[in-house]
């Protein structure tokens, strides 16, 4: 697509068969996504699943080995400056210059970003009660995270990317941090991508979900659509996967029953009405856990089968 300077009509994030190889190992492969502007995206996956790899390619800190990624229409290297102006990043462990004062950090932000909102940055520090003269190294972890978030917000970009922003924080600091992220996103049209292990946090915040395991996107789409496309079936034993309407994501067998989380389109779920079968809606955390527990081999085989059945990649299909 054409490079859209206003970024108005372009999706916030578009990845097309994006891949990154480290030596012989693929950190991320075949990642195809289209996230609309204004979405609050939860990115979930076990350690080493490729979350940071994906995020760093979005920012432009890492070059893709194959494929393309664009932010509001600004693609890779050709529009590096345009891309950097559209995305702000709070990296894992919120790195800051330890011997800088908070005011120095903000001065750096102002020097390195034409769109810097200095008044907002200072106002946030006042609200949080962080004195600007304090050295970064004397601040608590929660305060450092807040300074990082403030720097990202003051950059005034339409996309905010957060990599494990709360993993090192205590529960209260976590809550406050996430609340502040949401407060900034509400009403501003800010698109947010949050990588996190704290699934319950994401459930409260996100309206979009991406599940990444073994370097592949297993699930991506608006949370409501994803929940609607899955059911938790309770079926008498023995019922084989082949008898079930749709793809088995996760299965637990007890003495008499099997509890199976399946993915299927609405029509097939409607048609389901065999005696002794029970279909329940799926919760966010249940859905995420089912995908995380699926072995990467099974997931890969299923995705290959799905890709063979349909020309469109799975992630796109669920999106629509």
């Amino acid at each position: 697509m054409a490079h859209d300077d206003a970024g108005g009509s372009a999706p916030a994030l578009r990845a097309d068969r994006l891949g990154r190889r480290y030596g012989q190992v693929w950190g991320l492969r075949d990642c195809t996504l289209e996230v609309p502007a204004g979405a609050i995206v939860g990115l979930v996956g076990p350690n080493g699943a490729g979350k940071t790899t994906l995020l760093e390619m979005i920012i432009g800190l890492l070059e893709p080995t194959e494929g393309q990624v664009s932010v509001f229409g600004a693609a890779a290297h050709a529009h590096m400056a345009a891309r950097l102006a559209r995305v702000s990043y709070v990296a894992q462990d919120h790195p800051l210059y330890r011997d800088f004062s908070v005011a120095d950090m903000f001065r750096l932000g102002r020097a390195m970003n034409p769109s810097w909102d200095h008044g907002m940055a200072q106002a946030r520090m006042d609200t949080l009660g962080i004195p600007p003269k304090r050295k970064v190294k004397t601040l608590s972890g929660g305060q450092q995270a807040q300074v990082s978030l403030t720097m990202a917000l003051a950059k005034r970009t339409p996309l905010l990317v957060l990599d494990e922003p709360v993993s090192s924080l205590d529960p209260v600091a976590r809550l406050e941090f996430m609340r502040d992220v949401m407060a900034s996103a509400v009403g501003t049209g800010l698109t947010v991508i949050i990588a996190s292990h704290v699934v319950s946090e994401l459930e409260r915040l996100c309206d979009w979900l991406i599940v990444l395991t073994g370097g592949h996107v297993r699930l991506a789409g608006p949370v409501d659509d994803l929940l609607a496309a899955h059911r938790l079936l309770t079926v008498p034993r023995p019922t084989s996967d082949a008898e079930l309407p749709g793809l088995t994501i996760h299965r637990t067998d007890s003495d008499r029953h099997s509890t199976v989380l399946v993915r299927a389109d609405a029509a097939r779920l409607q048609a389901l009405g065999r005696p002794g079968w029970q279909a329940d809606p799926v919760g966010f955390e249940q859905l995420v856990m089912a995908y995380l527990q699926r072995s990467p081999q099974t997931a890969a085989a299923d995705d290959t089968a799905a890709a063979a059945a349909q020309p469109r990649p799975l992630a796109k299909e669920v999106t629509r």
């Binding site: 590096m80 390195m112 990082s148």
Partner: protein, 297 residues
């Protein structure tokens, strides 16, 4: 960006100024006593009256008093000092960002990372040029009385009284910046940059420098005895002209054959050697910018 670079290198700049101040104080103290002795012994008059050893006693007393202080005590330190200064400033420039994870912060701002690096390199290089020039000026002033007796073409005097000193510093700096990007750690980068720097520095001094231009030859008939000054470091040198750099003296029969580089080639040699090190610096820094732009790591 200028402020950012300054803020990040402020403490290094202050440490550099401190070192320079210490060097200046030392230079003033020693040089003052040297200048006093020089005029007290009337050496200036000796030099004007005749080039060839009419004041041998005065000269050797002056030399024995100051030459060890000026020529030897400093040598070991000053040989490695420019390299140390260069790697101490250069290695952390990128490696520190990689070590502490702050590269994710620095390179995700709106200023692209190549411009970030280019600005930093330009400013720090500028600072090192100023520091190098100041060091050169202080040392040249400090050695001035001694230089009137010995010239400044000798090894380890030559190294501090011209543009080569600054070029040595820049070269070590360039190597260290590149090593910092490749090794991602400050201390290993310092070591990895210093060793090749020292190897090149010594190889140039002892293998290349004497051959920048073909040396001249001076023949002297010693059938009736030569001047009492024999040896490479004699004052005045075997050639009889202060400032000539004597490379070797051989006796063949009744003749002594002296090969030397004449004093008037000093600046020519300085610019050849400085140019060589500046080219190495530019290559290392150019490679760094290119690698960071591509950054396959």
């Amino acid at each position: 960006m200028i402020w950012v670079s300054w803020r990040q290198h402020r403490s290094q700049a202050i440490a550099c100024l401190g070192l320079l101040a210490a060097l200046t104080v030392y230079a003033i103290v020693v040089s003052t006593s040297m200048r006093t002795a020089f005029s007290h012994d009337g050496l200036a008059a000796c030099l004007t009256r005749s080039q060839a050893g009419s004041c041998q006693a005065a000269i050797s007393s002056f030399m024995s008093k100051f030459s060890s202080m000026v020529n030897i005590a400093f040598w070991a330190v000053l040989l490695i000092a420019p390299g140390l200064l260069g790697v101490l400033v250069g290695a952390p420039l990128i490696a520190r960002e990689l070590e502490y994870g702050t590269w994710r912060l620095a390179w995700s701002q709106t200023v692209p990372r190549t411009r970030w690096l280019a600005t930093k390199l330009a400013l720090v290089t500028g600072g090192l040029v100023v520091a190098g020039a100041a060091m050169t000026a202080v040392i040249t002033w400090y050695r001035e009385p001694m230089d009137r007796l010995t010239g400044h073409f000798f090894n380890n005097i030559y190294d501090f009284e011209g543009p080569v000193l600054t070029a040595y510093i820049l070269c070590a700096f360039g190597f260290a910046v590149l090593a910092g990007l490749l090794l991602r750690r400050s201390i290993p980068a310092m070591v990895a940059a210093f060793i090749p720097w020292l190897a090149i520095r010594l190889a140039v001094e002892f293998l290349l420098r004497p051959r920048f231009q073909a040396p001249l030859t001076f023949r002297q008939n010693c059938a009736h005895g030569c001047s009492i000054n024999t040896g490479v470091g004699a004052v005045p040198p075997e050639t009889g002209h202060i400032g000539d750099w004597v490379l070797s003296i051989t006796n063949s029969g009744s003749q002594t054959v002296t090969t030397y580089q004449p004093a008037d080639r000093f600046w020519h040699f300085q610019f050849i050697e400085a140019g060589l090190f500046v080219v190495l610096t530019a290559a290392a820094l150019g490679a760094t910018i290119w690698l960071l732009h591509r950054r396959p790591a």
